[in-house]
């Protein structure tokens, strides 16, 4: 099918990319590639679309953008619901977020202590099953109450209105340290919960099929950008700030965040950037299927695991 709804790009070399959030260190590779001229070298005219309220999954699926920045989590929901998108590259190899409580909460030393506590959530359909599973894996009952707060969740956590929430470790976590109110975090994987790609680059499937060369050129340039971010976080942070003048009023936050991503998130076990595996896709996305929270295009619950290998591709990445 032709990309529905949105206006198609002016020419095959014009590539639009939709962001999930205001520019931040998760996007560094894209801005590096742009600043260094690597997109242009590849013959691409890349437009980074202004951040907006529309989910990148929807934008990409409808053809309003060719690529987007998404998460394995939201990707699973949109894909199950029939979005025509493919994950072309993993940006963060692991969960970018973690369970967090205030460091001064002596009463909470393990997720098992979260029973009966209040969770400050984001209205994400996957978050409750995930929390429940982690708490149970840690030996708890998995019983807690949820208040949907959105980004107010962090303030609510510091103010003691909620007991735990789910921040990005390399952004809100660092900010908490900077302001002298550190958080105690519990990584999901430490409690036997399946790992997931915190951030992925996604593409419009029909467009990818129709434009294999441009697709490969784009992904390689982006991969090269993230590679630089992994190798030289200071320079990458600088390029990010230069690309977004005025967007960052806390340079230290950007630098430390970039350093942390480079150290812990951008590379897979073999040291490569951008790779994806069927194992990791089936792990978390499979968990969501089993949890019964996904619905298909017809509105009916998804009960059988789809073929996850069709959800992502590594074919556009540079060969090692």
């Amino acid at each position: 099918a032709a990309p529905g709804g949105g206006s198609a790009a002016a020419s095959p070399s014009t590539v639009r990319i939709a962001l999930d959030w205001t520019p931040n260190t998760n996007h560094t590779g894209l801005y590096v590639a742009q600043q260094e001229g690597w997109f242009a070298e590849a013959g691409l005219d890349v437009q980074i679309l202004p951040y907006n309220q529309t989910s990148p999954d929807t934008l990409v699926s409808s053809g309003a953008a060719e690529f987007g920045v998404s998460f394995q989590n939201s990707f699973t929901f949109s894909k199950a619901a029939g979005a025509d998108i493919t994950s072309v590259m993993a940006v963060l190899q692991h969960w970018g977020s973690a369970i967090a409580v205030r460091a001064d909460r002596a009463d909470i030393t393990s997720p098992a202590d979260l029973d009966g506590k209040v969770y400050g959530g984001f209205g994400d359909p996957g978050e409750e099953p995930k929390m429940r599973a982690v708490i149970r894996n840690a030996g708890g009952r998995g019983e807690f109450s949820t208040v949907s707060l959105g980004t107010s969740a962090y303030e609510a956590l510091y103010a003691g209105e909620v007991d735990f929430t789910e921040p990005f470790v390399a952004w809100e976590g660092i900010e908490a340290e900077l302001r002298g109110e550190p958080l105690r975090t519990f990584a999901y994987a430490d409690y036997g919960f399946p790992d997931a790609y915190g951030v992925v680059l996604i593409g419009n499937s029909p467009w990818l099929a129709a434009h294999p060369e441009q697709a490969a050129a784009f992904v390689r340039a982006a991969q090269r950008g993230y590679q630089l971010a992994a190798d030289d976080p200071a320079r990458a942070a600088q390029l990010l700030e230069e690309a977004n003048p005025g967007a960052f009023s806390e340079p230290e936050l950007v630098e430390r965040s970039q350093a942390m991503l480079s150290e812990r998130y951008l590379r897979d076990a073999s040291g490569r950037v951008g790779t994806q595996t069927l194992e990791q896709w089936s792990g978390y996305s499979g968990f969501l299927v089993d949890a019964g929270v996904l619905t298909g295009p017809d509105g009916a619950p998804v009960t059988t695991r789809p073929d996850f290998s069709t959800w992502f591709t590594t074919q556009y990445l540079a060969q090692p």
Partner: protein, 254 residues
């Protein structure tokens, strides 16, 4: 044109328009094969909404409750401010710019503060609704009071009426048409305000439901909730005419 039949016939035009709109929409969705995540067909919205009716209803109740409390507070605040401002030119000059400024606070920016100050019980939601809706009510009343005929005020003064009696006998009833116009604007924003307030922090409500369904890419259920919101708002809007008929029958044209 009296009675239930007459009232139903008065609604015909709106129904006709709605049905035509829905038909075009349904036709477009079928013809263009647009993805339901982008634009579900009206039929799908209705059937899926119906299938989820228990959940929607369970979420509509807290929203209604919050709307009622919030709008009551808003009315109280709007009236208090308007009356105060009407009695004191000093207050009028002091408060008017602040009232206007209060409308410019992006709630997204102050939401964290609201949570810290008021927790996430009823209070922050009531504050948001009041903030969104008290303004048209206050402005409508203030201008309504101010539009009083000078000669009418003079008549009251000649009767020895205190400032308060002038207010009660002339300015207040004279402001009723303005007030009801303003009430209609305000009440329309009340339900949207409540849904917005639920984004600030809530565990149930149509706003929470919409957000959750949006993140599940269930546009059909989001629109079903929007439909319910619209129905509630239109009913409340209609209610104002009834109230006006009871409270100030003379203020409607024949």
């Amino acid at each position: 044109m009296t009675g239930a039949l007459g009232r139903l016939r008065r609604l015909t035009p709106a129904l006709v328009l709605v049905l035509v709109g829905l038909a075009v929409w349904q036709w477009y969705v079928t013809a263009s094969a647009v993805r339901p995540q982008v634009l579900p067909s009206p039929l799908r919205v209705l059937t899926e909404g119906w299938a989820f009716r228990a959940q929607i209803w369970a979420n509509a109740l807290p929203t209604l409750q919050v709307t009622a409390v919030g709008f009551a507070v808003s009315l109280a605040v709007g009236w208090a401010i308007a009356v105060a401002v009407d009695f004191s030119p000093w207050l009028r000059r002091a408060l008017t710019p602040l009232l206007v400024a209060s409308q410019t606070l992006p709630i997204i920016a102050i939401a964290p503060l609201l949570i810290i100050w008021f927790g996430f019980g009823l209070a922050p939601k009531v504050v948001v609704i009041a903030l969104v809706t008290f303004f048209p009510i206050a402005v409508g009343l203030i201008e309504g009071f101010g539009r009083t005929d000078r000669q009418a005020t003079n008549l009251l003064r000649s009767m020895g009426a205190s400032r308060w009696a002038q207010f009660r006998y002339v300015r207040l009833p004279g402001a009723m048409p303005s007030f009801f116009t303003a009430l209609r604007i305000g009440i329309t924003y009340a339900v949207t305000g409540a849904i917005f307030a639920e984004y600030v922090g809530a565990s149930a409500g149509l706003g929470i439901f919409m957000n959750l369904q949006k993140n599940s890419f269930r546009t059909d259920l989001v629109l079903a909730a929007v439909l319910v919101t619209a129905l509630i708002s239109v009913s409340l809007y209609g209610l104002t005419f009834l109230v006006q008929r009871l409270v100030a029958p003379w203020s409607r044209r024949g």
